[in-house]
Subunit: 330 residues, 2 copies
C-alpha cells in the first residue's frame, strides 16, 4: 500500500573532501532521527558512524518505556529497524570515527576529520556521538579488559553462564545489566558506593527481590586479581574501611557514561561534565553546529528524548540553511 | 519471552472525589507516554480522555517521520498500539472531558472537574490535551458542519469519491489532507492565503506535482452555498479582490490548530496564542501542574516531540512528588 515509501535501500559512499549540507556524527536514535527528517527535507546528508547504525539502542537488552511498542522491544531489534529505516532514505553513510571538527563561528563549511584521514565539508554538523562508558581509571581495568572485565552485559553475558559475577554501579544502567545477567549467572554481586540503587521503581523492586542478586552497599571495587583472567576482586566498604574478597569470573563496570574523549571541536561550549550546551533548537554556541541525544547537556537521557532532539535539530538545520545570508545569520 | 511485561489489560475506573498521585488530561502520544513512564514509577494515575486513547496520532493518515517504523505507520494503527500499551500498565482511565482545574500554587491536591460533574483530586496534573482545529468563525461554518464542511479528511474522505472538494490552508496538515483526499476525489482545490505551501519538501513537491490538485494562491474562503449540503464556495483573491465561484461538494478546513477553549486552569501562564509555557522539565508556572505535547508552547509539534515531553514530565512528577515537603517545594 505504501510502495512510494518502500524504496530500495541506497547506501551512498562519500568521497574525501566532498561537501555536504549536513554531516551527522553518530547514528544512534538521535542521529538516525535527524537523518530521516533531514532526508525528507532533501538535504545532502552524510552519516558518520564509528560502529553500527542504531547505536546505543542496540546495546539495550529490552526497551520497555518507548511509546509505540506495546510489549517493549529488544534493543537489538530496535537498532535493526532503525538501520533499515535510515537506509530507505537517500543519504551517504560511512563507518569512520570523527576525531576533529574545525568550525569557525560562521556559516562557512565546517571540516570534519576522521580516523581514516578523510576530511568532509559540511554546511551544518549535528553531533549525535552519544556517550561512552566511564572508566574507573585503575590499572587493573585495562589489563583485565576482555579477560573478565566488560562494559557490556548484553554482549558478554553468555560467557558467564552459571558463574559468579559482579556489577559495579547502582544506576538504571547497572540495574538493567544486573537484571539481564541474573538470567545467566549463578550469583551476582551488585556493588555500589551508596546504600540504595537509583533506578525506576519497577526495576528497583526487581533487583532487590531477585534471589540471585546480592547487593553490597557503600562499597567500591579496589582491585582485581587473576592469573590470566579475573578470579577474585577486592571490595572496600567505605563506611567501615573493611576489605572483602569475592570470587567472581566477571566484572561489569556500569559506573556512568561520559562524552567521548577522543573527539574535539574547538570552541564548543560544554557543561562541567563535558556535555554540549544547546538552546532548545539544539544549536550549540557555534553557528551551524548542533548537538542531540545523550551528548547534549539535558535532564533525561532516553531513546524517546534522543529521537525528539534529532527531529528538532533537523528542522532547525533546514531552516537555518534556508536563511543563510539573511541578516539573522550575519 | 517477556511474559512479565505482557500483563492482562487492566482498566481501573475512578470514583468521584477519588485522589490520585497524577491526573493526566488527554491520552494522545504525549499523555500516553507520560502515563507509561509514571506507571513504571508506580504512581497512582488517572487518565482522562475525551475521545479515544492514541489521540491525534489516530487522526493522521500515515506517519512517516517517526523513528522505529521502518516504512512508516498508519496513524490508526499507531493509536491502537498506544492504547494497548497504555492498558498493559496499571492505571485508571475514564472517558470524560476536563473542563476546569482548580489549583493554587502549592503542592496541595488539585481539583479536576469534568463534564460529567465528577471531581478528582490529584497531587500532580499533566496537561496533554492537544489542540483542536482553528475555526474560521464565519456563520456558514456551523450551518454546513457535517453537511460538507469537515475538519478531518481521514474520517470523511470516502464521502467525496469522484467529487470535487476544497482544502482550505497550506501548512503541513492541509497538505497531508490534500494528498490523502486526492486518492479519493476527482478534483481538489487547495486554497491558501499565501502564494506557496509551507510543508516539508517531499510533501510540498508531491502536492505541487499532483495533477488532481489545483492550488489557488493568495485566496480566502468567503462563503459557502447549498440548499441542504455544500454545493458552491465563493473564494476571494486578496491581491486582486476578485471573486471566484467553485463547484465543490466538500470543504476541508485546515487553517491551524489551537488550544482547546472549553478548558480553564486559573492562573496558568500561556503565550499570546494560548499555549502553556513550561520550563524544560515541563513544569508550568503552577506547582504540580505540567504541560506536554502540542498544548505546550514550543517549536516543533510532532509525535516524537510529544512522546519525549511526556516522558520528561513523568520523571519530573515522580521526582517532585518524592521531594514534596522538602524546602525545594516550600
Amino acid at each position: 500500500m505504501y510502495s512510494e515509501t518502500a524504496l530500495e535501500p541506497v547506501r551512498l559512499i562519500p568521497k574525501h573532501l566532498e561537501e555536504f549540507d549536513l554531516v551527522i556524527v553518530g547514528a544512534g536514535p538521535a542521529g538516525s532521527s535527524a537523518a530521516i527528517c533531514a532526508a525528507r527535507a532533501k538535504l545532502k546528508i552524510l552519516i558518520l558512524e564509528r560502529a553500527v547504525i542504531g547505536g546505543q539502542a542496540g546495546m539495550s537488552y529490552h526497551v520497555e518505556n518507548l511509546l509505540g511498542y506495546q510489549e517493549g522491544v529488544l534493543g537489538e531489534n530496535l537498532a535493526r529497524t532503525i538501520e533499515k529505516q535510515v537506509m530507505t532514505h537517500e543519504c551517504y553513510v560511512s563507518f569512520e570515527t570523527v576525531e576533529q571538527i574545525v568550525a569557525d563561528n560562521t556559516m562557512a563549511p565546517k571540516a570534519v576529520h576522521t580516523n581514516t584521514g578523510n576530511i568532509y565539508y559540511a554546511k551544518a554538523v549535528i553531533l549525535a556521538n552519544g556517550l561512552e562508558p566511564q572508566k574507573l581509571d585503575k590499572p587493573f581495568e585495562n589489563s583485565f579488559f576482555g579477560r573478565g572485565i566488560s562494559y557490556y552485559a548484553q554482549g558478554d553475558a553468555a560467557f558467564y553462564a552459571n558463574k559468579a559475577v559482579a556489577v559495579i554501579g547502582g544506576g538504571n544502567c547497572a540495574c538493567y545489566a544486573a537484571d539481564y545477567l541474573s538470567g545467566f549467572v549463578d550469583h551476582l554481586y551488585l556493588i555500589h558506593h551508596s546504600n540504595t540503587v537509583k533506578a525506576v521503581k519497577t526495576l528497583k523492586e526487581k533487583i532487590l527481590n531477585n534471589p540471585k542478586i546480592q547487593c553490597i552497599w557503600d562499597s567500591r571495587l579496589e582491585d582485581v586479581f587473576g592469573i590470566d583472567k579475573v578470579e577474585k576482586i577486592k571490595v572496600m566498604n567505605s563506611m567501615t574501611g573493611q576489605h572483602t574478597w569475592l570470587d567472581v569470573k566477571g566484572v561489569f563496570l556500569y559506573v556512568g557514561r561520559i562524552p567521548p574523549k577522543d573527539f574535539a571541536v574547538e570552541g564548543l561550549r560544554t557543561d562541567e561534565k563535558g556535555f554540549v550546551i544547546t538552546d532548545e533548537c539544539m544549536r550549540s554556541n557555534i553557528k551551524g553546529v548542533y548537538a542531540v541525544g545523550d551528548i547534549r547537556s539535558k535532564q533525561i537521557r532516553q531513546i524517546a528524548t534522543a529521537v525528539s532532539d534529532g527531529m528538532i535539530a533537523a528542522v532547525n538545520v533546514e531552516r537555518d540553511l534556508a536563511r543563510k545570508g539573511n541578516e539573522l545569520w550575519a
